[in-house]
């Protein structure tokens, strides 16, 4: 094969801009090439002309040439020779012929190329552009030259670009890009953008992400440049349950206490009511608890349900549930992934002390129109996506609705026959890429729930959200995101059964947020991010109005609440050496509640009570009522002990200015959110944690220990009325809390059998000590919170028989939650009543559940109308009657104990999902 030359596809192209000028000096080819191998054909041509061919010999080893040409151009000849193959060719001015697989070499740069590639320290006249869209193998084999040799004498060069899904053009979020020697790595941000500073020279970049095939790029780094990387999806969806939560990131990354789940993982878990549910998936992670089934609220590391920052495309969702918590509020077809931060919360997040649940939707396919959906026993859903301007902008819309009314009406019970329960949600996303430096992303979300029983009281609640984000890249090292969003939550309760008492009770919360975030790659060792954010809150905490003419209900309205929460932050990630990496962040948050509002002034030094009100202060619109705020320190460090193991340590403080008032165990739709004010102090949470991480062969292991303190937790006096209370401060007591625990997680991210196993030991304790006995709970001692479940064990397993058929199982065990039990009974007025113990001194029976699921994919023919798949799940396979609560009630004067279970039987569901 003496004439064969192994080509470097990444030849630098100096003749720019490139035109088809070569045609003017065209050589004509004539002759008969019969039954020749391609190599022989090339030899022939090269001997007869000054053309030189560059290609990989393996691509052509089976290609026979059988043509007869006379006075044909090289183009025409090659068209004929390569007609039946995947090979593309490019003929250059100096008569060089490059063969490539599938994609021709782009010999022209995009029009805006020069506008977008100016780096501040750029001394080179031109940068190099290489487009890589060949087969995976080819991409790995090729060597990409970035920058111009000798352009500057700095030891490092920066590379930046996007990591995208090759099929849909959507960004790949959280993909890691790293080199082994020395160990340097980075991850893509929510728009798939990355930038990294690397030593000049030959480097092997490793790119990994959940749900995508890992890939590599060989580069020769001469200076600053761009490298966009396209990753292939793991084409066979059932290949593995993707818990490959950034295998390397877990050990090498600086983040700790974070868990990431993507839709594929969640899809393969057994389903509860026929639908993928984010919150239920999150509950299988160590350190996440719930008070019971059928509740969407979740507790992270001993925190309350209102202490989780639930972000949906960066805007807050206040009620993440449908149908009283049996469904989560997010349409699974639109989701991309979910990331939960349990500790080491970075400085850009604030406002909730326990966790951040960052939910991201997909961007929509930029290349072709497609859709997906599903039909389950209670809900139906559909999502459509496609390009608006091909490769530039895309849309993604989704809708989901229940048809559960129908099911309620099927039940032979008069109570249920007249009941109605329904919900729907709508999503719309639009993305537009103006150019490589400017992206716009807009999201809208609306959810609505309605529930009415027996022609009586009806409950309605709704979430609304809109967000817009503009992303601008200044240069390889510096980019920004400017965003604005609106979140709203409202509910109403309407009762018109008794015309005299017909009423409408409503509540509304609105928040508008404007923020700017910046990311700056200072040098090879420091990455700085900083930003500002301001939130304007407007609450209508309750209004009662008569809903019928005859109604005698007196209109009552609580005063509106207004406030402003602002924050400024700065964080720096510092790579001290190849082993030690540090992150230091400081967030300063500031909260101001403003008028118009009348505020009661209470006698100082005594318990606040209606009788101790001494005055009323009037504040005009915009006037400051009270201010609070302070610094929030976020620190973390990672030390790599050996190649596959590391230890991390972190501390974070978070302030929370908005709390939910609730004296029920589960989140109820009528719970109200209350802003901090002159009397209600912001919640303050500090967490310290240490973790150990190790990868060994196919397994990943992590262990984390944490200690947490909470101040100004809200508790209530006995008999406190939380709805329409004009002086809620008289009914509130401040509690403090502490939580500690250890979490162990063992994952097998890939293989025929994959999944994870976790064990958590945790405690969550509260203390309520007021001035009066009525304000003190359990004599002022620490008592277990409602969600204190010391032992929790989770197993998620998936076994793939073949590409179309897999089974999965989920095993959950936890200690029963604490409850208050009656100690004694006594007679009052001829009826037995109960005398209760101190709060939460007993527990309901332990919780144990097994779920089982089967996934059947449709055939893998490429051409068909739609790709369908079936999911058959059995929730609570053993039919165990897990207690939701235990309660005692007086019936006809006799005290009886009961155990309430939510899913007391095995619940089978079958869901059909489709994609086209």
């Amino acid at each position: 094969m003496k004439t064969t030359r192994i080509i470097f596809l990444s030849i630098t192209l100096f003749c720019l801009p490139w035109t088809r000028c070569w045609s003017q000096v065209e050589t004509q080819i004539s002759g008969s090439f019969r039954n020749m191998t391609f190599l022989q054909f090339v030899e022939e041509i090269e001997q007869r002309s000054d053309y030189h061919f560059f290609f990989h010999p393996t691509w052509v080893d089976s290609l026979l040439v059988n043509i007869n040409v006379s006075n044909k151009t090289m183009d025409e000849t090659l068209d004929e020779v390569l007609r039946e193959t995947d090979l593309k060719y490019t003929v250059t001015l100096n008569h060089k012929v490059y063969l490539t697989l599938r994609q021709p070499i782009v010999t022209q740069l995009p029009i805006d190329f020069f506008d977008t590639d100016i780096t501040p320290d750029s001394t080179e006249k031109k940068a190099n552009y290489v487009r890589i869209e060949e087969s995976e193998k080819a991409k790995i084999e090729e060597i990409i030259v970035i920058g111009i040799k000798g352009a500057n004498n700095k030891p490092t060069g920066s590379i930046a670009g996007y990591v995208r899904n090759i099929k849909s053009g959507e960004p790949v979020i959280g993909a890691t890009i790293m080199i082994d020697e020395p160990l340097i790595g980075t991850a893509t941000d929510p728009s798939g953008y990355y930038s990294i500073l690397l030593p000049k020279g030959s480097q092997n970049l490793k790119i990994r992400s959940i749900g995508m095939k890992s890939t590599e790029r060989n580069i020769i780094l001469n200076g600053d440049g761009k490298l966009n990387i396209e990753m292939e999806e793991d084409v066979i969806p059932l290949k593995e349950i993707v818990v490959q939560s950034d295998r390397d990131e877990k050990v090498m990354g600086l983040k700790m206490g974070t868990e990431k789940l993507d839709l594929k993982t969640m899809k393969q878990m057994p389903l509860a009511l026929g639908e993928v549910d984010i919150i239920k998936a999150v509950l299988t992670l160590p350190g996440v608890q719930t008070v019971g089934e059928g509740t969407t609220g979740f507790n992270v590391r001993g925190g309350a349900t209102d202490q989780n920052l639930i972000l949906f495309n960066e805007a807050i969702i206040y009620n993440p549930s449908h149908l009283f918590g049996f469904f989560s509020a997010f349409n699974p077809d639109l989701l991309k992934n979910v990331e939960l931060y349990k500790s080491g919360i970075p400085a850009e997040f604030g406002g909730r002390i326990s966790s951040v649940l960052d939910i991201t939707t997909r961007e929509g396919n930029k290349k072709k129109f497609s859709g997906s959906g599903g039909i389950g026993p209670i809900t139906g859903r559909v999502a459509l996506e496609g390009p608006i301007i091909k490769e530039k902008s895309s849309f993604l819309i989704g809708a989901r609705s229940s048809y559960s009314d129908w099911i309620l009406h099927k039940i032979p019970s008069t109570t249920l026959k007249n009941s109605e329960a329904s919900f729907y949600d709508l999503n719309a996303n639009i993305n537009h890429e103006f150019n490589a430096k400017n992206h716009l992303h807009a999201t809208g979300y609306l959810s609505q729930d309605r529930f009415k029983l027996k022609n009586d009281t009806s409950y309605n609640y709704s979430n609304k959200m809109a967000a817009i984000k503009w992303r601008h890249i200044f240069n390889n090292k510096f980019f920004s995101e400017l965003g604005g969003n609106y979140s709203g939550y409202d509910y109403s309760i309407i009762s018109d059964n008794n015309p005299v008492e017909a009423f409408n009770l409503s509540y509304r919360l609105q928040q508008t947020n404007v923020k700017a975030d910046f990311n700056y790659l200072l040098n090879a060792k420091n990455t700085v991010n900083f930003g500002v954010s301001t939130i304007l809150y407007k609450l209508s905490p309750g209004s009662l109005t008569p809903s019928a003419n005859k109604s005698l209900i007196v209109s009552d309205q609580l005063q509106n609440e207004q406030a402003n929460e602002s924050a400024i932050y700065l964080g720096d990630q510092y790579e001290v050496n190849s082993r030690l990496s540090l992150y230091g962040g400081l967030r300063y948050s500031f909260f101001k509640s403003t008028g118009p509002r009348d505020v009661f002034i209470y006698e100082p030094g005594v318990t606040k009570d209606v009788t101790t009100i001494i005055d009323t202060a009037h504040y005009t619109s915009g006037q400051k009522i009270s201010t609070t705020g302070g610094p929030e320190v976020r620190l973390s460090a990672r030390y790599i002990i050996a190649e596959n193991s590391s230890v991390k340590i972190s501390f974070n403080r978070v302030r929370q200015y908005l709390q939910r008032l609730s004296n029920t165990t589960a989140i109820s739709p009528t719970d109200i959110w209350k802003l901090s004010d002159a009397y209600i102090k912001p919640l303050l949470g500090d967490q310290f944690s240490i973790g150990y991480y190790q990868n060994a062969k196919a397994l990943e292991f992590s262990a984390e220990v944490y200690y947490k303190q909470m101040k100004n937790f809200l508790d209530y006096k006995g008999g406190a009325e939380l709805i329409l209370n004009h002086h809620i401060e008289t009914d509130i007591i401040n509690a403090s809390g502490k939580a500690y625990g250890a979490e162990f997680l063992l994952k097998k991210p890939s293989g025929k059998l994959n999944g994870w196993l976790s064990y958590t030991y945790s405690r969550s304790l509260l203390r309520t000590k007021g001035l009066l006995p009525s304000e003190t709970i359990n004599q002022g001692n620490y008592y277990p919170s409602n969600y204190d479940k010391p032992h929790a064990f989770n197993f998620i397993g998936n076994y793939k028989f073949n590409r179309r058929f897999s089974i999965s199982a989920n095993v959950t065990y936890s200690t029963g939650r604490p409850i208050t039990l009656p100690l004694a009974k006594y007679d009052i007025d001829g009826t037995s009543r109960l005398f209760y113990s101190d709060r939460n001194q007993y527990r309901i029976p332990d919780y144990f559940r097994i779920d089982f699921g089967i996934n059947i994919e449709g055939n893998h023919k490429i051409k068909k109308l739609a790709h369908g798949s079936w999911n058959i799940s059995i929730y609570n396979l053993t039919g165990r009657n897990n207690a939701y609560s235990v309660y005692f009630t007086s019936e006809n004067g006799i005290v009886k104990g009961y155990k309430l279970s939510v899913f007391a039987y095995a619940i089978p569901t079958i869901t059909y999902n489709f994609k086209f």
Partner: protein
Amino acid sequence: MKKVVWIVVFLAGCIEPYTPPEIKPADAILVVDGHIDVNSKSIIKLTRSQNLLETGETEKVEGAEIVLENESGETYPLTEEGSGSYSLPPQMIQPIKHRLVVRTTNKRYVSEFVETKNSPPIDSVSWDITTDLGVKISTSTHSQESDIGYYRWKYEETWIYTATYWSSFVYDDLEKNIDYRTDDIHRCWQSKSSTDIFIASSLRLSENLISKFPLVIMEQRDPRLKFGYSILVKQYAIPEAAYLYWKELEKSTEDLGTLFSPMPSQITGNFTCTTNPEEKVLGYFSIGTSSEKRIFIDIQQLPQPDNYNVPYINCKLDTLQLTDIPTFNSSAYIIIIGIGKGTAITAYLYSTNTCADCRIAGGTNVKPDFWP
């Protein structure tokens, strides 16, 4: 939110009886149960709490001294009537605050001073036929005396029921023979007092008015609606604090077992132990006048069901030969009817007393005075 439990049931939920694990027994706590009704004889009961799983009668506290005391120090002692009951005849009292003082052998307990509340008359007790053809009884009241009214109701229902058989004969235990029966043990009146807490307030209304507050809901086949039904509703006006106490008590013992139930808490009342402030006392003292109203439901006006949901008793007749009459077990059986040819009785038919004597089921065959 009580109804939310239904959706749980719809999702294959389940409610099962539950016996708690061993609970550390609490010390027996003194319970002061009672309301002083100014215009009738009032009873205050003193008992002690029981462990949860304990069965049998509650312990009565005897030999205590109870006095009603007003703010100016005047006292009205109560009379011990035995088995933990202490009574006070109707009193003319001053319109100031009163409290109850209880003295046991070594301890003294006092209630808070509470104001006297006079109940306005009951406007109406009415009944309506519900959508599923049952009966709903509700009460209405109003008052001009104060802006906000807090009310509590109790009621006593009385209804007629019958035994399966009508007995024409009675066995004479002394003579060991059979006579014609002169009394009626087939038809009885059963009375039952309310056990649940019924409270309401006009807090959110523009007038001190309660409209159709529901007290009793019966399904169409309810046996109480078979022959005759009457209800006596008793209404108390209560102070706000008492309303909150009853509401809490209701929440902690009745309104539980749903997904969004409030968490139960320890509720004591308005008594304290002055001898040992740490000691808990249960009960709520209130004082005032009451008003009452009785209605009858005309069974003829109700839609008639095919059958009534009467508890099933296995009733059958056995033959008593004349020779066996002297050995007849009259404590367990009752003669129903005689059989024979012409006027001569050759044998009797008898059945168990539960099948023939309505009094066994707890009612009385003496027509109450109020029954028309």
